[in-house]
Subunit: 421 residues, 2 copies
């Protein structure tokens, strides 16, 4: 099944937002066994949109369209669909019901502009939107099936998952594509690809590629076969090789991101965590609390930016900060054990460092340099305290993210060790 | 001048990397006064590439192509260009010189594969690459000028800046484009476009569009004129209207995001903040600490996920949690004043709510329902405590983000009031 992706929106064409919807959809579509043949983005201009839809429908079996379903007069995708199909826009009663209910739940009523959103091509199938007001729909032209989704990434993604993927799965049938996403931590991308050179051959089956995320590397394996069992076997062979070669650096074999792995492990093992963050400034807490159910494991997180906060909340001795500086192994250790004790958690985790862009300290007689990117991590549990010194490359956001992931990886490695006693 | 952008590469079409080259180029091209009419991405397949180049050359005056200029047999852009132009590939002597010099400086010699990179369409103009081996070039078809650039973002960007932009500037001449990005908070997109209907007229000059972000709305104004002064005057007229109509809902007129605005205001006014987050779980802290220099203003943030943390760290009375539940106006207020006092900050900010996907509580006799998305926000300062109840739509991530931005907006509004005394 050939699929063309079309994005409609000035914000994409003018460069204000990168077209992340297209890459999201491509990844999901290829996982379903479809072949994405291209992306196209056009402005919110009726003639451009109609032309793009027509060309896409001629080239592909399925067209996935995003954007232009909002409430404003700029939003011309509904009209473009009508023109392509040669039908009139009509009030979709089911869409009206859903929209009215959406507003009712929020104690409001839809505006005239919002009502525009329920004027869809006649003879279409509605795609429900549970998190916004833009109605999606499916239509059939002479050549192709067209799926119309909203442009807001979160709404687009949930509509694709809930409404589009099941329909495509039915159309594609027993296509056998097995995919696997492995997350590796603590190893650079060039090393990953060097150590997987024998399986990363272009056009081979399975196809193996790497994807550098900030703070970890993903290895993506896609295998095609006549039957699913065969495809899965092919994937499994590569997974075995990755496991053999990278051992404990394999954080996940199921596409979970590192923070999701740690959250799941904590919950499954019934262990509690408390976090003290300085330079990561809430990022560790934010990542963990993004995982539903984490409240059972994460007792609290403290962003102790100021020294007073470290002393008062975590009982870090003021003399230690005085003697070694807030960015030091000693203070990281005191923060980790302090937050563990004061929060009554099984594990205390801490980060202190220099995220930049300024704040680096040059070397002086009797004192080591403290460059931007220098980070101390510490983990305290019933076995004691472990600290680690790292220097992370990149800008402020990258240093923070790398530091947060390295800290979480410490928890992962600790939790994967056999328990004492 | 109409410009079409074409990206050639499997990695873009399969979704492994988002097409950030296209958005980079669009922003730069519009700054030069060109009108980008669309983006297109195709696979590393000769027939697809030729077809995409042909369609682009027909639709636009200038085509900017990225990707497919590397040393491997997959890299088919040079061949596609020859086919489009109806010419043969020939060794470009200047390209060979540059390539040899590139390798000589690194103590190496070009491989056979690298030499492929110097086989360009006859009668082209070379675009030098100072940071890689892929040669760029300009070609003229019957309909358009085509610029071919490498796909590696850093090489593409420096070649655009150094080689392409000067040529385009000469072609476009004295064009002046002024742009402005305004962030509005606390008002839905449909209302923004209804109240700006008179200036949001398609194809008008200035062009005004809205962009819905999770938690706030951006208004983008682009004006064209003969001279820069005129273009800027046109932008200013629209800015005045936005200001008149939205007043304090204008969070920024310079493209700053809301959290950046709040961070800057706190720093400029010398005010200190302490934050107690429950359902936002560190997101407020993460957003604020992403801004350099915030350590002067943000004393600490506490992610008090468990009730014990609220009681012990923030002195929230346990009876209050018992009587009203952790998600209540009373507890939000106690958290805000608690964190303000215990941290010794000027302002205490708190959030408690139900981010979902589960955790909602139905109504019962004598008790209101507490649906997913229900959030209480509180702000404590020297004037007392203000609390707010909101129900946010969307999934867990969206509820958290909307709640965090609403809380920050409370701080923004408070800081923009004239100070007492």
């Amino acid at each position: 099944m050939k699929v063309q992706i079309v994005s409609i929106g000035d914000e994409v064409v003018s460069g204000v937002v990168p077209d992340t919807n297209a890459s999201y959809l491509s990844l999901r579509l290829e996982e379903l066994g479809a072949e994405v043949i291209g992306h196209r983005a056009v402005r919110d201009r009726l003639s451009d949109a109609v032309e793009a839809l027509r060309a896409a429908a001629e080239a592909a079996d399925v067209v996935v369209v995003t954007g232009g379903l909002g409430p404003t007069p700029d939003d011309i995708t509904r009209e473009a669909a009508c023109e392509l199909l040669g039908v009139e826009p009509v009030r979709n009663e089911r869409a009206l019901e859903l929209l009215t209910e959406f507003f009712r739940q929020r104690g409001r009523t839809p505006s005239q502009n919002n009502l525009r959103q329920t004027m869809l091509p006649s003879r279409t199938e509605l795609l429900a939107n549970h998190s916004g007001t833009a109605c999606g729909f499916v239509a059939r032209s002479a050549e192709a099936r067209l799926f119309f989704l909203p442009g807001v990434p979160a709404e687009m993604a949930s509509m694709f998952r809930e409404e589009v993927a099941p329909r495509l799965r039915e159309l594609i049938g027993e296509s056998a594509v097995a995919t696997r996403l492995i997350s590796l931590m603590g190893v650079p991308e060039s090393e990953v690809s060097a150590r997987l050179e024998d399986v990363m051959i272009r056009g081979s089956n399975p196809e193996v590629g790497t994807l550098a995320k900030t703070g970890f590397i993903q290895v993506r394996i896609v295998a095609r076969a006549e039957r699913m069992q065969q495809a899965e076997d092919r994937v499994r062979e590569v997974v075995e090789k990755v496991r053999e070669r990278f051992g404990r650096q394999v954080a996940s074999e199921t596409g979970e991101e590192p923070h999701q792995v740690v959250a799941r492990m904590l919950i499954e093992r019934g262990r509690t965590l408390a976090v003290a963050e300085s330079c990561t400034g809430g990022l560790i807490a934010d990542m963990l609390t993004g995982v539903p159910g984490i409240s059972a494991a994460l007792l609290e997180a403290l962003v102790c930016y100021g020294n007073a906060s470290k002393v008062n909340r975590l009982r870090v001795p003021a003399e230690q900060i005085e003697a070694h500086g807030a960015v030091s192994a000693e203070v990281a250790a005191a923060m980790a054990s302090g937050v563990r004790e004061t929060a009554g958690a099984d594990i205390g985790l801490s980060v202190t460092g220099i995220a930049g862009p300024s704040g680096g300290v040059p070397a002086a007689p009797g004192r080591k340099a403290k460059p931007v990117g220098l980070v101390y991590l510490a983990l305290a549990d019933e076995n004691g305290i472990v600290t680690m010194e790292r220097v992370f490359p990149g800008d402020r956001a990258q240093v923070r993210r790398r530091a947060a992931l390295a800290a979480l990886d410490g928890v992962r490695l600790r939790l994967s060790e056999p328990r004492d006693g």
